[in-house]
Amino acid sequence: MMQAALATLEIRDESDAVDAICAANAKGVSCAIVGGGSKSQLGRCAPQTQALSTPALAGVTLYEPNELVLSARAGTRLSEIEALLENNGQQLAFEPMDYGPLLGAEAGYATIGGVIAANASGPRRIKAGAARDHLLGFRCVTGRGEQVKSGGRVMKNVTGYDLSKLVCGSYGTLALLTELTLKVLPKSETECTLLAIGADEAESLALLRRATATPCEPSSLAMLPAGVALALDADAAAIRLEGPTISVTARRDDLVARLSGGGVRFETLDERDSTTLWRGLRDAAPIAAQVGQVWRISVAPTEGFAVVERIRRAGVPLLAHFYDWAGGLIWLCVETTSDAYAAVVRAAVDVSGGHATLIRASQETRTIVDVFHPQPAALAALTRRVKESFDPAHILERGRMRAEF
């Protein structure tokens, strides 16, 4: 948003990307990679010299529904891909989050390249895997200006290093992705959500974990403190069930029988309401409207509540929060302060392991605070060597992930 004045180069194909990155290497200037701009405020604030704009690098290049595979150029809108899949009864099972609304941009601008670069995965991640589990192969231009491919279009492939995993979540710091090949999956016939209302926060989380230990195959499990969603005035556990109608109904009934007791009451959201709920949770809607800084914290499911308690007890003013991934993913909105309470939040996480990412904060805060969880020395050194194996001169997204590159 505040980077509008950046000199922009439009990337229409791989050779444009090679030219731009080679020229940037010659001049030593850094480049942002900008698709739809939905995540331009995500990451450390590290102004780049120029922007490489990818929306012209667009189009689905291969889609074979029976082979469960789709390839698209990196600048293709996610919404276009999702609409195409929807028409064929298929989906990206990892349920990519749209960061736009949370970060003050409009919804619907995310590109598939950005989705992969941020490893953006939604509530179904706990069952279906993350973006990184669905990228079969890709083409890119590295920070050295070289055209490189990895992986393929088949589901099973162990030929060479699995670079697909590496580029997922690399925030453009290794390479400019040009084309991505994804595993796509059938959409479920239907879905519903079972709400268990009335237990407190810790009990609701324990109930979610109990649900994961049943054979009922929940595909998403969230804990919603009173007031954050669905206009509920009590804490609730939300459990999504997907599949053929006959199975969803049977599993819901089974789950009610297994989880009954302890004074909880059950409600069921039908397909439409269920879809709406999880779409909102996917995009962190319950906290997006709050004015405050937002943390995204990933820990072991049993630790979620303890982490929030530690943060609360340390006196951090929490404005709103909720849990996804059966308690393992915490979305936390705190009152705005210059350092976003980073030290307290990270200390709370480090007790049992995990990471805390500062998703939403001002540019000033994202300049002085590590957006991504700090790493121990040996891992940090290795991370830097991996970065430099792709981009020795730190041309791409300089400083976006780590201050040192």
């Binding site: 990184r132 070289e146 060479g160 995993k165 974990r209 630790e303």
Partner: protein, 497 residues
């Protein structure tokens, strides 16, 4: 055909005495194998075509020993080849004559089972199946199930990104691990992930998985545990042609059904299996498809009828659905026996492992038949049909002059065919030494150089499992990745194969 491995370095060979003495200061004597007869036991893994006698075998029992060995190896500039259970089908843990063979078999403990977080923390030498056995009473299992699961170790599974018959629905190793502890060349220890999902920062767990022991030595693994589905049922479908069978597989997936297992075998394999241990497969079929559906009883019954309808529409000549657990296991018995059964119809066989886009299967089969004819050999086929992973078994007789060479040539030709059809060289067995020299069929020099640069980021001196995966050895300095101290190259004579 001869496999060219890096020439043993005289500088290392001549330091063997010192190396053994210094390893002896790190390890108890029973963990160090020095004499030739005992070292012979380690001269190959399950890819037995090529063998080498390791310089010395070290069997560390704890992480500190691994770190000390890796530090010593870096200091003395000695190569290290990590080894799990030695079941690699591509020679991933084939020793080097001038290298330490680092056996991880003493790392055989399950450290923690955490049902609430649905994961287990295990040492790398634990057998794959032992994890599922340890948690089955609580209704859990570990999903990846390579056919070697009674022997293979989880550390080796990580190194090779092992698959299995259930990976269409449940994924490969890479989709089922949450954390790794790794010792790097030089002895640094890093921890990646843990019990949480999707660690931010570069996904080094994903990179380590399937890196074939070239990047680091895994000393601990956190695996995901899944709830066992309450019911599984099998279907046995016979077809008058492999093409018809392949079409049916496509139709099942097109209908939105993702079976837990979806396997196919051709006539040669069906007959071999029935001769080996009869399990009721239809002998008149040209192709047999085994489908497994799992989930809740209502769902499974529903899906079984959907698949039966599809099979009927696709002209199946045999349609049987299991009505008991015993019958389901019987459907699988033949498939599980396929490899030993084939070894009864020919003195030797070579198992290949290409993957192709599923729709290209008829072309792949026609091509394989033509290529086999050119070599005067025959091929029996077993497929993980759901994901296009082919296991052509090339039948040959090693005692016949020229048969080994013909079999290898045919294997290479088949893999080239897979690549030309949009597929890949290896779906689950790994590149190792077996397919190393074919990497150029799939990757450009630039692609491979980027992969080798990553190798340099982990192992700048190129001491960890060199000679595997990449068809050429480079000095990292060539890639601008290594700081050359005082103009002195550590290894002036790196070969190119």
């Amino acid at each position: 055909m001869t496999l060219l491995m890096p020439t043993p370095e005289p500088a290392i060979m001549s330091q063997r005495g010192e190396l053994i003495a210094r390893l002896g200061a790190i390890l108890p004597s029973e963990s160090l194998i020095v004499d030739e007869v005992s070292r012979r036991a380690y001269e190959c893994d399950a890819f037995t075509m090529y063998r080498a006698l390791p310089l010395v075998v070290a069997l560390p029992g704890n992480v500190e020993q691994v770190r000390a060995i890796m530090a010593l190896a870096a200091e003395m500039n000695v190569k290290v080849v990590p080894r799990g259970a030695g079941t690699s089908l591509s020679g991933g843990s084939m020793p080097l004559e001038d290298g330490i063979l680092l056996g991880m078999s003493k790392f055989n403990r399950i450290l923690e089972i955490d049902y609430e977080n649905r994961c287990a923390r295990v040492q790398p030498g634990v057998q794959n199946l032992a994890i599922s056995k340890a948690v089955e009473a609580q209704g859990f299992y570990y999903a990846p199930d390579p056919s070697s699961q009674i022997a293979c170790s989880i550390g080796g599974n990580v190194a090779e990104n092992a698959g299995g018959v259930h990976c269409l629905k449940y994924g490969l190793t890479t989709n089922n691990i949450l954390g790794l502890e790794v010792v790097l060349m030089g002895g640094d220890l890093i921890r990646l992930g843990g019990k949480h999902l999707d660690s931010e920062g570069y996904d080094l767990i994903g990179l380590m998985t399937g890196s074939e022991g070239l990047l680091g030595v895994v000393t601990e693994v956190v695996v995901r545990l899944l709830q066992k589905p309450p019911v599984a049922r099998g279907l046995l479908l016979g077809f008058a042609s492999v093409t018809a069978g392949a079409r049916c597989v496509g139709a099942i997936i097109a209908r939105g059904v993702i079976p837990a297992g979806l396997e196919m075998m051709d006539r040669a394999t069906i007959h071999a299996v029935e001769r080996f241990q009869p399990c009721g497969y239809p002998l008149d079929a040209e192709a047999l498809v085994i489908v497994e559906l799992d989930g809740t009883p209502a769902e499974v019954d529903h899906l079984v009828s959907v698949v039966q309808d599809i099979a009927r529409e696709e002209g199946a000549t045999t349609i049987r659905a299991s009505t008991s657990e015993a019958e389901r296991l019987q459907f699988w018995a033949g498939r599980k026996n396929a490899f030993p059964a084939v070894s009864c119809i020919a003195p030797d066989y070579l198992c290949m492992d290409g993957t192709i886009p599923r729709a290209r299967l008829p072309e792949a089969l026609a091509g394989m038949e033509r290529l086999a004819k050119e070599q005067g050999l025959s091929v029996a086929n077993v497929f993980h049909a759901g994901d296009g992973n082919l296991h052509p078994l090339i039948l040959y007789d090693a005692s016949k002059e020229g048969d080994v060479e013909r079999a290898e040539k045919l294997g290479f030709d088949i893999l080239r065919l897979c690549v030309s059809l949009g597929g890949v060289l290896t779906g689950e067995h790994g590149v190792g030494v077996e397919k190393r020299d074919l990497m150029g069929e799939m990757f450009s020099d630039v692609d491979l150089e980027q992969q080798m640069r990553l190798k340099c980021a982990f192992d700048p001196a190129g001491r960890l499992n060199p000679g595997k995966v990449f068809p050429t050895l480079h000095r990292c300095a060539e890639f601008g990745m290594m700081h050359v101290a005082g103009g002195k190259m550590p290894f002036p004579d790196l070969p190119r194969f």
